[in-house]
Amino acid sequence: MSLDDLYMEIILDHYRNPRNRSGELEGHDVHVHHSNPLCGDELDLRVRLRDGQIDGLAYDGDGCSISMASASVMSEVVIGRKVADAEDLAEAFRLMMHGEGVGRQEDLGDGVVFEGVAKFPVRVKCALLGWMALKDALNTHSEGGQAHSVTHE
């Protein structure tokens, strides 16, 4: 495994030019804060939902290139999806990061490049942070909540 597996050009691109990165989102329905205290990664995620669909999403945070780039990719590929579909995609991403194959390759878009990160066990959590936050946000909303805060180990 080489450094380029970890820091693919696409990842560096998302890190340098983040998409949908913002500390605000007009009319958001749910806001979650996730952190990974061991790494020092912090992520705020806001989601706006309309008709069972992700209508808008913005993240912001302080973290390594992997966590921030992964959140950026995630934002791109889930906006516009149905909630159930986005949850399924998040699960596909999780499985990929645990080395259990790449399902929904097409839908994951740039997300597939994170497969290389799976070879760096200590960085897997970083790649997952944004997706875990998404799952939690959708879940929090479905249970009627508006905000939630989670610390990962």
């Binding site: 450094l3 820091y7 790494c39 020092g40």
Partner: protein
């Protein structure tokens, strides 16, 4: 002064390559490397004298016991206490927990202040937090200045209440490198309250600067073997026998008792009453050998060597664009653990890319989250030096940082 090239030959791991590059190990503040002499001492016990200590009349048991007690005596001398004042634990953290349970929880109560500092390692915070609610004492922290020193005014103000019954302070910060004026602080605390005791975190200082408990004006000292060329699994609580003896046992079990009946037990004297069960005897013997190794080098020389490295590293790091170094800028006021931040680069990325260059540094909160908050950082990168590091390795550190910057440059 010792010859670093000769010293390096004693450390087999330094011959290693990582990712095809020679290892530049700059993470000794987390765990130091182990010289062949220590590895051999551990092997020798296992291969020739292995036996439970303090329990047998047979030859192996006598030999193991003798080696174990000789290690205790050597370690005691190394920090200026009597052998009867050395309690073996598994690490610094256990030593602090012992003091928390057997001293703080029993002797401090409502109205009393246990004074720690904002630059403490979690091991010198969490144990106090765990017993404070039961005991009812108040836990206060001395803030840290922007330059990485303890805020003396704030310290004086808290001490002036006369309510500080225990000062828990590190002799050297594992993040900032700051060498704290422990003796002075201890004097101030004692002047304000003659019943106060002073507990020193020596995890970073004992490996790097000559230590004498009396000179520190302290009562108890905690440190770990794995940061001072010793094996993992061994730590020390060192102190005055009278104080230790006045404390009730913490862990119960075999070896620490005089008598056990179904109704209750009587305990041995310190240090044995604190050593429940079979102790990490191979590890204690290994630590004894590590101490002998450091004494051969001479702690004054160890410190001088590290100051030399610092004098190269501090300006060199500051010379790199975007790099800011945390902690005191004067090498005389600090040890050789150097934390820094690089603009636009997260410590984890830095750590990963530097690792590919063969340079092992630590990235994260260094088990000092309250200090991180004070620094306004969620993590830093830390390079830390020891007897086997060279000036060339300082240069390799700087090169690796620059290489990382190039890698991530848009």
């Amino acid at each position: 002064m010792f010859d670093v090239a000769t010293v390096r030959k004693d450390f087999p791991v330094l011959e290693r390559e990582v990712h095809g590059r020679p290892l530049v190990y700059l993470d000794s503040a987390a765990t130091s490397q182990t010289p062949q002499q220590v590895i051999d001492a551990c092997t020798r016990i296992h291969a020739e004298h292995n036996s439970n200590v303090h329990r047998g009349v047979h030859a192996l048991a006598e030999e193991a016991t003798e080696a174990y007690e000789a290690a205790r005596a050597a370690i005691a001398r190394f920090v200026g206490v009597d052998a009867s004042g050395v309690v073996f634990t598994k690490n610094t953290s256990e030593a602090f927990n012992l003091v928390a349970h057997s001293y703080a929880r029993r002797r401090l109560g409502p109205g009393d202040i246990l004074l720690a500092t904002q630059m403490e390692h979690h091991s010198n915070i969490v144990p106090w937090q765990l017993v404070a609610p039961e005991a009812g004492f108040e836990l206060r922290y001395v803030p840290v200045t922007a330059e990485g020193y303890l805020d003396r005014e704030a310290f004086d103000a808290i001490v002036a209440t006369g309510r500080v019954k225990l000062l828990a302070v590190t002799a050297m910060s594992n993040v900032l490198g700051t060498l704290n004026p422990v003796a002075e602080l201890a004097g101030a605390v004692r002047a304000a309250n003659e019943d106060a005791i002073v507990v020193v975190d020596g995890a970073q200082s004992v490996p790097h600067v000559g230590t004498d408990l009396a000179a520190l004006n302290a009562d108890l000292l905690c440190f770990s073997g794995h940061k001072m060329l010793g094996p993992s699994g061994i730590g020390v609580l060192a102190g005055h026998w009278d104080l230790l003896e006045s404390m009730p046992p913490f862990l119960g079990g075999g070896e620490m008792i005089l008598d056990v009946t179904l109704e209750g037990s009587r305990f041995k004297q310190a240090p044995y009453k604190f050593e429940a069960g079979t102790p990490p005897y191979v590890e204690a013997i290994g630590l004894g050998e590590a101490v002998a190794y450091l004494e051969r080098l001479g702690m004054t020389n160890v410190r001088a060597h590290e100051v030399e490295l610092l004098e190269r590293a501090l300006p060199a790091l500051r010379g790199v664009e975007g790099v800011s170094v945390h902690g005191p800028s004067d090498p005389a006021q600090r040890g050789a653990a150097v934390s820094f931040s690089v603009e636009g680069l997260h410590p984890h990325d830095l750590g990963t890319v530097m690792d590919r260059e063969g340079v092992a540094v630590r990235a994260g909160h260094h088990c000092a989250k309250p200090l991180m908050r004070a620094l306004g950082a969620s993590a830093t990168t830390r390079a830390s030096f020891y007897v086997y590091n060279t000036l060339d390795e300082v240069d390799a550190l700087v090169d690796a940082i620059e290489a990382t910057q190039r890698f991530f440059r848009p």
